[in-house]
């Protein structure tokens, strides 16, 4: 959330002080270093220590606020009480105005969840894995049905909070799924995400590539994290939330996994060539959003700019449209892709990086936009 005050060499943003009240845990989630079977050193903070650390870091402009979770000690309620106590102290004693995100335990009492929501801006429960069966083997104490139930309660409280200001409640909930720890395919992940966005109004679903931990479980041998897969899932998630795509358009029974080499929108467009090309000067905003290489901002700009004159390729170039990607899918006043006679395989090859590059730092390459100036032909 908010500003990133630093970045670690893994490319991730540091925005919040993200800590556990304790890493002692009763549960045995096999992907987690803090599971009870793990042999790591155990430690715990007192709630007061966490409060002080948050305040001190915040005043130095290191962070936007606190993301607090905890291993489960004694019971869900006992643990939740401690977590809530930290947030309450920050808000009521120190009038802390920064951001607070609390991880909630589905089995905690209704009263404690209400309190967590009262002090936090965001609360979350991790759904962890998309399928019930994998959760049973990999996180035997967790349960999807109970998690969904708790998410539903949070959704209700959150909407009550919206209609009645006095019942202040966190403005959103989010969750996380671990990618690559079980056999679930991308379709499973995206369907679960669709379920959560649709039914419980989640703000965000985070996808976290399963990554080596210091003391791995016999039940879950380590693998190197599938970072590109994580990145593609985020792109697909984005398409569902902001571009009007349905889950079953992004993955299909024949293609249950996302194409790792190209982005999911391009991949969809190549499966649906019959819908293209579309005319930049006539198509609706919704149609523009579906063109590979066109983002929300540019789709808006196009609908604005074409009012004054019919757009040509050079206009799109000035707007920084990724023409390399969109050229085969669009018609402009001076361009008809049919003449280029490009087949889908060629387009895919043009955008797919060489195979070994996929293993490397691909995600960061994607984040740095490179706009190439192109002529009339490839």
């Amino acid at each position: 959330m908010g500003i990133c005050h630093s970045y670690t060499p893994d490319g991730r943003c540091i925005s919040l002080l993200k800590i556990l009240l304790t890493n002692v845990c009763l549960y045995d989630c096999h992907y987690c270093i803090n599971r009870r079977s793990s042999n790591i050193q155990r430690a715990r903070f007192s709630p007061e220590e966490v409060v002080q650390l948050t305040l001190d870091f915040y005043k130095r402009n290191y962070i936007e606020g606190l993301f607090l979770s905890s291993g489960i000690v004694r019971s869900a309620d006992y643990t939740m009480e401690q977590v809530v106590h930290v947030a309450k102290t920050l808000r009521e004693i120190h009038h802390f105005k920064g951001y607070i995100h609390l991880k909630t335990i589905p089995e905690a009492s209704d009263e404690l969840i209400s309190q967590a929501g009262k002090y936090a801006d965001r609360i979350s429960i991790n759904i962890e894995l998309p399928k019930k069966e994998s959760l049973q083997t990999l996180a035997p104490e967790k349960n999807i049905a109970r998690t969904r139930l708790a998410m539903n309660q949070i959704k209700d409280k959150s909407s009550e909070g919206k209609s009645d200001r006095r019942l202040s409640f966190a403005t959103g909930q989010s969750t996380q799924m671990i990618v690559g720890a079980d056999q679930s395919n991308d379709g499973h992940f995206l369907k679960r995400a669709g379920d959560l966005y649709g039914n419980f109004k989640l703000r965000r679903v985070y996808y976290s590539a399963f990554s080596p931990i210091p003391d791995a479980s016999a039940i879950l041998p380590l693998q190197s994290p599938p970072l590109v897969r994580e990145h593609r899932l985020y792109q697909a998630d984005w398409l569902m939330r902001f571009y009007g795509f349905q889950v079953d358009e992004i993955t299909t029974p024949e293609n249950p996994n996302l194409d790792l080499a190209i982005d999911p929108k391009l991949s969809w467009a190549l499966r649906n060539r019959h819908l293209f090309p579309i005319d930049i000067n006539r198509s609706s905003y919704e149609e523009l959003l579906r063109v590979p290489g066109l983002g929300i901002r540019n789709a808006k700009r196009i609908t604005q700019a074409r009012r004054s004159s019919a757009l040509r390729l050079c206009d799109l170039q000035l707007m920084r449209v990724n023409l390399k990607k969109s050229l085969a899918f669009i018609i402009t006043a001076d361009h008809q892709p049919a003449r280029l006679e490009i087949d889908s395989e060629k387009i895919r090859a043009l955008h797919a990086p060489p195979a070994q590059q996929l293993e490397l730092d691909l995600t960061s390459q994607i984040q740095i936009p490179k706009i190439e100036v192109i002529g009339g032909e490839f």
């Binding site: 990133c4 490319g11 870091f57 005043k59 004694r74 009038h95 970072l227 700019a305 960061s364």
Partner: protein, 277 residues
């Protein structure tokens, strides 16, 4: 050709621009110049404030002009005058033409300012220097790319209202002690405090949340360019974290797998088991 000096801020530009506009001088007859390099033969335009009715321009233009006035290049002044001229001479919809090269250039500049502002909000680091009358006192040093001290100050004022602070920069400094923002001339870095006893704790945190198995150095650098590193207490850890990451990951992968331990006796866990049935 009329020559005018680069103004030093938005309001000054507005005064000059109004005067040029009322004299009917088109942009290509006006030369905006560094006061140090003004040509001897150029004709100096009267900069006296003009009390003629101000031209109505879209709010969006004023906002854009205010923003890019902070650009360090000084290229914005003539660009802004061209845009103003076109707005006042029939092209009212100018700003909704993102494909117009001048509009595009102005938007690019605004984006650069926006990014600079964002990075300043992110990377200013306050160092505690004392405490007086129950208010803690902090000082930060920062070198923004553009002249954005005043633009950035409200953010810090809102967020750090309950402490006293100064942000020192080579261009201008801003100070807050609870009632009003004050500005003073730019200073040299030697005046800034370099240490804070919390820095070490922050470094520990930084080290601990880095995941060596997901090295993505370029992603980090594109978001946190090296020019900002010198003020970040965590930055000198980066190199070591990167060099050791491979070894640390390999170590994790080589470690023997741990067997599963039985659940301890605990009523809560038993209840969970019940629920499962």
């Amino acid at each position: 050709m009329h020559t005018v000096h680069f103004p030093s801020h938005f309001k000054q530009w507005r005064t000059i621009a109004r005067s040029l506009l009322s004299q009917g001088l088109p942009p290509d007859e006006v030369l905006w110049q560094d006061p140090q390099q003004t040509s001897l033969f150029a004709q100096q335009t009267d900069e006296a404030p003009c009390d003629r009715e101000a031209k109505a321009v879209p709010k969006a233009f004023l906002k854009l002009a205010q923003t890019i006035s902070c650009h360090r290049s000084n290229e914005q002044w003539s660009l802004l005058y061209s845009l103003l001229w076109r707005l006042c001479h029939g092209d009212k919809q100018l700003l909704s033409k993102p494909h117009d090269p001048q509009v595009r250039r102005a938007q690019q500049m605004a984006k650069q300012i926006g990014r600079d502002l964002h990075k300043m909000h992110a990377f200013v680091r306050f160092k505690k220097v004392g405490e007086a009358e129950q208010r803690e006192q902090f000082v930060a040093w920062f070198e923004p790319e553009h002249l954005i001290v005043r633009l950035s100050a409200p953010f810090f004022k809102n967020r750090f209202a309950s402490m006293d602070w100064s942000i020192l920069t080579p261009d201008e400094c801003v100070h807050w002690s609870g009632s009003e923002l004050h500005y003073s001339e730019g200073v040299d870095q030697s005046l800034a405090e370099k240490h804070d006893h919390l820095d070490e704790l922050w470094r520990t945190y930084y080290r601990s949340i880095f995941n060596p198995a997901r090295l993505k150095v370029r992603a980090m650098q594109s978001e946190m360019p090296q020019k900002y590193w010198k003020n970040l207490p965590e930055a000198d850890l980066i190199e070591e974290l990167i060099t050791k990451s491979k070894e640390r990951t390999q170590e994790m992968l080589n470690n023997p797998l741990s067997p599963v331990k039985p659940a301890p006796k605990n009523t809560y866990l038993e209840r969970l088991k019940e629920l499962e049935k």
